[in-house]
Structure formats: structure tokens, C-alpha cells
């Protein structure tokens, strides 16, 4: 399947990565090759096969909803590039 520049641009936007023109071109050709290779799986008849969403026979893992001690705000914010008080700080989103 062909993967054109417009598709690459759209995917880059979905992935929130600002790609330069030269990166777009390079990725477009590399992804084209890789997708050409993985297209191999389209040959198989998988109509009646169940998808392996979990490889182990476990489902609905639940736990008691008990209060417990978690990270303090100070510790959770230790690695923040920018913070204000007890909050992560980001560029303004409301004009």
C-alpha cells in the first residue's frame, strides 16, 4: 500500500510530532518499505481466528478500593519542567 506525503503529515499530527520536510520525505520512503513488508500478513486467512488481545488467560483484574498513601504533591512535581504551587504549569490555552 502506498503511503503518501499527506498521510505522513496527518499521522505526524496525530502523533504530535513536528517533522521537518527532510524528515517527512525520509520517513515516507522508510515507512513505505516497512509497510510493504508487513503487508505480508494480508495473505493469511484469519476470518475465523480470535484476536489475541491477552496472551494469558486473565480477565477483569479488580482490586478493593481502599484508601492508601500515594506520592505527595511535592514528590510528584519534583520532575516537572515548570510548576506553579501544587500544579504542573503549561502554556496558556484560553485566550
Amino acid at each position: 500500500m502506498a503511503i503518501d506525503n499527506e498521510t505522513i503529515k496527518h499521522v505526524a499530527h496525530l502523533a504530535r510530532i513536528d517533522l521537518q520536510q527532510n524528515e517527512l520525505e525520509k520517513l515516507s520512503s522508510q515507512l513505505h518499505d516497512i509497510i510493504g513488508f508487513i503487508d505480508k500478513i494480508s495473505k493469511l486467512d484469519v476470518e475465523k481466528i480470535a484476536p489475541a488481545s491477552h496472551i494469558l488467560p486473565i480477565s477483569n483484574v479488580l482490586r478493593e478500593d481502599n484508601p492508601h498513601v500515594s506520592l505527595t504533591p511535592e514528590k510528584a512535581l519534583e520532575n516537572a519542567p515548570e510548576k506553579k504551587g501544587n500544579f504542573f504549569s503549561v502554556p496558556k490555552i484560553i485566550e
Partner: protein, 479 residues
């Protein structure tokens, strides 16, 4: 022999009888590091090393014995950056469960972390933000990846033993390239809590060691149920050292014919054939089998693993930790942070995964890949209903030259062809040294077993090892 050259179980015996102190082990590691790590580059952020603190012994089982940790496993207060610019300066506020287990067992966490491909994306450690690690057996070659730093550190005696992580072969392939032992446990055997996620349905943490006995000791410590990882399994952890018997008479070993086909280095094939003969000599019953969907493993893997990676890596947006690009617009800030923070391979995989999950392609790629994954698992189930284990090469070639495959991502992906199926099927597998090529590069033998049957792997591995000397050979790193 120097202390840094010994195995963990040899050092534990010495610590126990009081003939050495833990500080002496750390000192021998520091000396070795000073001597060879400029060339091997197994460790990252080497400037951070402070050798000042006196290492105290510990009363728990491991008595303070040092262990080296891959840079994607969270260690409280100790930088954990996944060898990526985007996690620059990240100091986890908590320990991964495996680290808590190790500390509780008396291990001393080594202050430097091991190099890796950025976010474990790679098979050569060349994708590290900090630059490539070099193979101790030949400094012009890659150590394998993504746990290349861990494997090279153990091989070069810059570590006693180490932890790596394996999503598609990232423990076994570097263990094979560096001539050491590496185990990927059963999916769910070891908690992933605190392992910075690459592909959550495939990732497992495991040991990289100098012999099989050390791998058995370390696996027992890190394995077990963890309420913090809902995919970890509540099943008793056996004392794996009890499986270190030397008797494989009558054991049924399957050889998958799809793992001995064209594209494989004839020298590797000859070495592996000889290892299989050795197992036969030791009493195992060898029979050829088929794993019919093997050729689909790499394509299936590169859909599932990248799809999961693209979701997992969405959290790196410059808000909570790590690198942030300057911008006064939020969306622009995300896009610039990710453009400047991720390396080429990370971008490539995020793009591929986002594409496979995007509208209009989901059914053709992601859903279809999950179905083929079922077929791959069924192939293994069938073999394990008749056989105790499967033996195959770990990699189709020995270590390749640095730079040889970087320009062709597809060729790099194909170096994982023999390790990927194991992750897709969720089963355990171990690579052990089984010989060398003419150029003195190590070759690994891969032993796979059914889910939660690590014991058979240790038994076969230990028996082979105790009847050969490959694991005792050490690389000479010239000054």
C-alpha cells in the same frame, strides 16, 4: 581472578564465609570501569559516579552484592532516562517493583545505569542518545540490543550481574552477541511496575548473568505477583536453583525447521548444530518440528509493538517530566518537545504505530496482527503438548559491525527474527553461550519452554553449560 570477574554465587560464598567485604567488590568494579569503559561504554552518565560512599554489608540473602540496572527501570532518586533526550534529568520518585525486591533481598544497586537503545527501540544499542556501546569481544562490533549496556557490562566484567528488559529479544540477542546468559521470563512472571513501558503486552524484565546458576538465583528474586501490575500472575515462584540438575536423559527437545533457513550465517548454523549434538550426546531426544507461522512473526511484531509504543509514548509531552521545548502555545509545545526529544528510531516507531491504529487502517493492520498472533501462539502450544522445550539459535548472525545496519531499518528489524515469536507467545526463553565464530565472536543457543516452565530452561541450560566451557571464556580488551 579479580573479584569483578567472579559470578554472583561465587561472590556470595565468599561474602558468607567472611573472606571478603562488599566494598572490595565495588572497588574492583570501579577499577575495571576506569580501565575499560572508555572503550566499551556500557554505562551512561559516567560523570555522575561518586565512589566516596562506603558500601555497607547487608544481612539479607544477597549481602550487599552489587547489580547493574538498565536505564529504563525506575530507581528512586537515581537518574532513569531510557537513554532518551526526552527524559533528560528524570529521577524517579519511586522504585520499580523489581528494584524493591532486590533491595529487600540485600542487593546493592550500582550507581551507574546501563546503556540501551532509546526506549528499548533497537537491536544494537546504536539508538542511544548517549551513543553506542561497543562489544567487548570486538570493539568495532555492536553488543546487540536493546539491553546492550547490561550485556556488555557483564561480559567485560564491569558488572557482576544485571537486569535488562526484553520486548522482542532485547535480553537474549545482546546476551548472545556478548557471550553471556540472558533470560526473558514468561509474560506475567515478573512485575512490570516501574519499567518504562515500550509494548505492554510484550515487555518483561529479566536477568543477564555470567552463568545459568546466577540467572536462576536472580529470577527467583525478581519474580512474583505484584498488585501494582495487573498482568502479573499470582502463581508460586519456585526455587529455581533446585532445577540446576545435570540430567536431561530422555528429555524431549524440538528443533523448529523454520529457524534453520536461508539468511542464516553458516558459521552460526554450524556452531548451533554442534550444540544440538551435544544435547543429544547428553541423553536428550531430539526431533524436528514446524512452527508454521514463523515468517509472520516480524511483521506482526512491528505492528503490535509499535502500536503499543505509540500509545505508551504519548505521555512524553513535556508536561510532567523530562525535556520541554520552548513555546507559548500548548499544542506547539507538545509537537516541538517530541520533535526535539525523540531520536529517529523512536519517531519512526511512533509514526508506524500511530498509522497502524489510525482510522481506516486498524482492521487491516492492528486487528489482523492480533489474529496472526493467536496463530503463532497455537504453533507453540502444539509443540509443547509433545515436547519439553525448543532449542534454536538466538540470532541468525553473530555481532555485526557498528554502523552496518543503521541506514536500513528493515534489515535491522530482521535481526530479531528468532527472538520475536517468544514474546508474541508470552513464553520464557534463555540464551546461553554455545561457541564462537572464526572471528572469535560469541554465538548464543536459545532454549524456549511453555509458559511458567522456566525450570526446564534452567535445567537444560545448566546441563549444557556444565558440560562445556564456553561460558568461562572472557574477552580481552586491549588498552
Amino acid at each position: 581472578m579479580e573479584l569483578n570477574q567472579l559470578t554472583a554465587h561465587e561472590l556470595l560464598a565468599k561474602l558468607k564465609n567472611g573472606s571478603i567485604a562488599v566494598q572490595a567488590i565495588f572497588d574492583s568494579l570501579y577499577q575495571r570501569l576506569d580501565k575499560v569503559d572508555d572503550k566499551v561504554k556500557a554505562y551512561v552518565r559516567r560523570g555522575n559516579l561518586e565512589k566516596s560512599g562506603e558500601k555497607s554489608g547487608n544481612q539479607a540473602d544477597l549481602l550487599g552484592l552489587p547489580i547493574t540496572i538498565k536505564d529504563n527501570i525506575c530507581t528512586e532518586g537515581l537518574n532513569t532516562e531510557c537513554c532518551s533526550k526526552i527524559l533528560q534529568g528524570f529521577r524517579p520518585p519511586y522504585d520499580a517493583t523489581v528494584i524493591s525486591n532486590l533491595k529487600r533481598s540485600g542487593a546493592g544497586i550500582f550507581e551507574l545505569k546501563a546503556n540501551m537503545d532509546e526506549f528499548a527501540f533497537g537491536s544494537s544499542t546504536e539508538n542511544s542518545y548517549f551513543g553506542s556501546t561497543h562489544n567487548p569481544w570486538n570493539l568495532d562490533c555492536v553488543p546487540g540490543g536493546s539491553s546492550g549496556g547490561s550485556a556488555a557490562a557483564v561480559a567485560a566484567d564491569e558488572a557482576i550481574w544485571a537486569l535488562g528488559s526484553d520486548t522482542g529479544g532485547s535480553i537474549r540477542q545482546p546476551a548472545s552477541f556478548c557471550g553471556v546468559v540472558g533470560l526473558k521470563p514468561t509474560y506475567g512472571r515478573v512485575s512490570r511496575f516501574g519499567l518504562i513501558a515500550f509494548a505492554s503486552s510484550l515487555d518483561q524484565i529479566g536477568p543477564i548473568t555470567k552463568d545459568v546458576e546466577d540467572a536462576a538465583i536472580l529470577t527467583r528474586i525478581i519474580a512474583g505477583y505484584d498488585p501494582n501490575d495487573s498482568t502479573s500472575i499470582n502463581q508460586k515462584v519456585p526455587d529455581y536453583t533446585k532445577s540446576l540438575t545435570k540430567d536431561i536423559k530422555g528429555l524431549k527437545i524440538a528443533i523448529p525447521k523454520e529457524y534453520f533457513v536461508e539468511g542464516m550465517d553458516p558459521e552460526v548454523k554450524a556452531v548451533v548444530d554442534e550444540a544440538v549434538n551435544k544435547l543429544k550426546e547428553l541423553g536428550a531426544v531430539i526431533k524436528q518440528v514446524t512452527l508454521a507461522h514463523t515468517e509472520y512473526a516480524v511483521p506482526v511484531y512491528y505492528i503490535i509493538a509499535t502500536a503499543e509504543a505509540s500509545s505508551n509514548l504519548a505521555r512524553f509531552d513535556g508536561v510532567q517530566y523530562g525535556y520541554r521545548a520552548k513555546s507559548d502555545n500548548l499544542i506547539e509545545m507538545y509537537k516541538k518537545t517530541r520533535a526535539e526529544g525523540f531520536g529517529d528510531e523512536a519517531k519512526r516507531r511512533i509514526m508506524l504505530g500511530t498509522f497502524a491504529l489510525s482510522h481506516g487502517y486498524y482492521d487491516a493492520y492492528y486487528l489482523r496482527a492480533l489474529k496472526v498472533r493467536t496463530l503463532i501462539k497455537q504453533d507453540f502450544d502444539k509443540v509443547f503438548s509433545e515436547f519439553d522445550c525448543i532449542v534454536a539459535p538466538t540470532s541468525p548472525s553473530a555481532a555485526f559491525k557498528i554502523g552496518e545496519r543503521t541506514s536500513d531499518p528493515l534489515k535491522m528489524y530482521l535481526s530479531d527474527i528468532y527472538t520475536i515469536s517468544v514474546n508474541l507467545a508470552g513464553i520464557p526463553a534463555m540464551s546461553i553461550p554455545c561457541g564462537f565464530t572464526r572471528n572469535k565472536l560469541p554465538v548464543g543457543l536459545q532454549i524456549m519452554a511453555g509458559a511458567f516452565n522456566e525450570e526446564t530452561i534452567f535445567k537444560v541450560g545448566h546441563t549444557f553449560e556444565q558440560n562445556t566451557d564456553w561460558h568461562k571464556l572472557k574477552p580481552i580488551i586491549r588498552p
